[in-house]
Amino acid sequence: MKRFAALIDRLIYTRSRNSKLALIVDYLRHTPDPDRGWAIAALTESLDFPAVKAGTVRTLLATRVDEELFRLSRHFVGDTAETAALLWPEASGKKADLSVSDAVDALAATSRSDAPAVVASLLDRLDADGRYALLKLALGGMRVGVSARLAKQAFAQAFDVPVDDVEELWHAIPPPYAPLFAWGEGRAERPDLADVAFFRPFMLAHPLEEESVDLADYAAEWKWDGIRVQIVHGGGETRIYSRGGEEISGAFPELVAAFDQDAVIDGELLVRGEVQGGEAASFNALQQRLGRKVVSKKMLADYPAFVRVYDLLAVDGNDLRALAWTERRRQLEAFVPRLAASHFDLSQVIDATDFDDLAERRAGARDAAIEGVMLKRRDAPYVAGRRAGLWYKWKRDPLTADCVMMYAQRGNGRRASFYSDYTFGCWSDAGELLPVGKAYSGFTDEELKWLDKFVRDNTLNRFGPVREVEKSLVLEVAFDSIHTSKRHKSGLAMRFPRISRIRRDKPAEEADRIATLQAMVT
């Protein structure tokens, strides 16, 4: 754990990507299996110990530290794992180092009820840095700026193998990746994936910044507001992966059951909404289905999921990814009829005559499930990640409203010392300010400093970490859409709200009214 803790610490304080890469390369080369595999899995958030949660740590801390002191400390530090690592009373006596794999084994084997005792015994064997590493390992949320992509590059560099091979193998082999290291070090053949329903890294898009593109080179499609998924059928099983390679098959059993072809598709998972006349419902409806481990019959009936298919990556044992989009599209159109129409449909190409026509259709799109337009280069293969010039996303212009800041809360992590989360409201007919949303992005670092100072200088009340402020600052809030919600007193909930401008010039009385926002509901 010492080497791993030192690696984490250095990664935290290292800003340059190349230096981070060098640190990981060095670690991978000089650490034995299986510790290095577990470590890299932890860095990329690929580990999950269901029995150990932040609540476990809080419960555990309560047995050793006063709860109020823990709460105050947690609020100051901004991170549960770090707070606990610092607060944990040092065990006396000399400690033998605990290996990462011993820790992983102990955490994986424990039950929910034994978890506090197991974590306590591990913590007692470590110093403050080791405790931090262990708790981050157990709880996730490492936040050391190591993406899966960076880890794969480090692996490729450490063992001098092609990064594209690593990309593909990575998700097919579970931690601690022993066959991957054996291959990297030349001790074994490249692992064979023929019989595995493995994840292919997604092709992603850059935001469109050009004035226009030529539709002779780019095909246009609607960008649907669901979740991007990959469905893979292989080795006799079907798996659904989210964009990050996380498997979400369990939440959508009806799709797993309905996908019975030997193929790999890329598409948008949506929920069919009755109010939309059986068309795709808003993201709001889809949220009812996300993150569920067990899905009730009622859920399946009320929020039926389907996939709007964008792309075909493999079919009948052939990998199509190297083919141009035009050819993949041809095969996709031929393939989709083989799937159950109840659960799969084809994402239509927008047959705009030219870019201006496309712009007009984008502006006129009123469907709540449309997030914008995708532009895909017709001659481009399907490649992992964001590549310049191949795919663009062109989101719908956001809606905006002028709201009044009501409450502010300190951020987490890097923003622990700043009031960076703002609750804002609009005026009701009765002249009362009602909260309509909360945002913590959209501003520059300079603006954040200004906002933080505004909050501190205009505090009316403190409620724990929250400050109520003088209702005088107008914030222009941008959001993708707005929905009715029972959760808020205003009856409204925004999707993706962010601060677009600070309107110091505007008096609070002139901010928008709830009624104006209600008119924007989709």
């Binding site: 109020e68 002191l69 105050l72 530090v77 770090e82 607060l87 992590g413 010392s417």
Partner: protein
């Protein structure tokens, strides 16, 4: 015995001692000010008369243009003091920086100690904290949360020396507050056997000279502005924290950015400062020092000011000690801790 609340009054801008019409560490100009130590959040210019230790007066003369020789100002050695309006004032070592003092006030049989800032661990640059028995103990609480436990200073100094030796082609630039922290880091380095010249930012020069005049041996110091870049490879450079990520640092050979502060205990704090090598070295009491001190002083009541008052208040509650928080303003906790 006098009733405390009738003769001493905490205000946001300082503590007012009414029978003497005197303020302790006022943040606004006052006719009479007793000053605990020379940091800018405690010592200001513009007071009618200043009462402090000779070192603190010298620091105030250097930093804020206070005339230490003027007849309205008065210097008192540790243990000495004066009387005004029936209140007896005396100065006692606080162990925070050179000249730092706790101020003891005695009035009609009641004793109140205002600590200013303090620490308990050894510091070769100043006299160690003395426990002064009192009825009311007005304590700082900069690190008044149990997450703050400063490691042994020698470990942090060893980390610093290790970092310099690990990359001899680079320099290590240590952000250290100009009054107190910088001189302490230098003397600790000397104590650990670092005999090479230590390179300093111009903003540290005069204060280092003042320390030397008061008998603190800092060894050979050289000004960065008068040194070739190449000479500083493999060497230690000290600068005020504000210079760390400033263009000034470009004159150093590929510096590793370090910072000496108690805040460095919290990773995200260190990250915010863009620090690569955090050194947990503080001139303020950590949690254990704060709680030990309250236990040892064992006052009838503790008044807790500037910092994490809530944490220390909670500890007092848990240990059944009477305590209250004062909300003083203008205390800058970020830079010099």
């Amino acid at each position: 015995m006098a009733k405390t609340r009738t003769w001493i009054e905490p205000h946001p801008s300082g503590i007012h001692v009414k029978p003497a019409d005197l303020w302790i560490d006022p943040s606004r100009p006052a006719p009479r000010a007793a000053v605990t130590h020379g940091h800018a959040d405690h010592a200001r210019s513009g007071h009618g008369a200043v009462f402090a230790t000779p070192e603190t007066l010298a620091i105030m003369a250097l930093r804020y243009g206070v005339d230490a020789e003027a007849s309205n100002n008065a210097a008192f050695a540790y243990g000495d003091g004066f009387e005004r309006g029936g209140v007896r004032f005396s100065f006692h070592p606080a162990g925070h920086v050179l000249g730092s003092a706790q101020i003891l006030m005695e009035y009609q049989g009641e004793r109140i100690v205002v600590t200013g800032d303090y620490k308990r661990r050894a510091d070769p640059t100043c006299a160690p904290f003395e426990v002064v028995p009192c009825d009311i103990f007005v304590t700082e609480a900069t690190f008044g949360l149990p997450v703050f436990r400063h490691p042994p200073t020698s470990d942090e100094i060893a980390k610093l020396i290790g970092a310099v030796r690990a990359e001899p082609e680079r320099s290590v630039l240590v952000g250290a507050y100009a009054l107190g922290k910088a001189q302490r880091v230098i003397t600790e380095l000397r104590g650990a056997g670092w005999d090479a010249p230590i390179y300093i930012h111009g903003a540290l020069e005069k204060m280092c000279q003042l320390y030397a005049v008061h008998g603190v041996d800092l060894g050979e110091l050289r000004l960065v502005s008068e040194t070739d870049k190449a000479e500083m490879a493999g060497q230690i450079v000290l600068a005020p924290p504000s210079a760390l990520n400033d263009r000034w640092s470009r004159r150093l050979p590929d510096p590793v950015t370090a910072m000496a502060s108690g805040w460095m205990r919290v990773r995200q704090r260190a990250r915010q400062r863009m620090v690569e090598l955090p050194l947990v070295i503080s001139d303020h009491a950590d949690w254990d020092e704060l709680t030990t001190t309250i236990s040892e002083v064992n006052p009838k009541e503790s008044w807790i000011t500037h910092g994490s008052e809530d944490g220390l208040l909670r500890w007092c509650e848990l240990t059944q000690r009477k305590a209250r928080a004062l909300h003083l303003v203008g205390r800058d906790l970020e830079e010099e801790a």
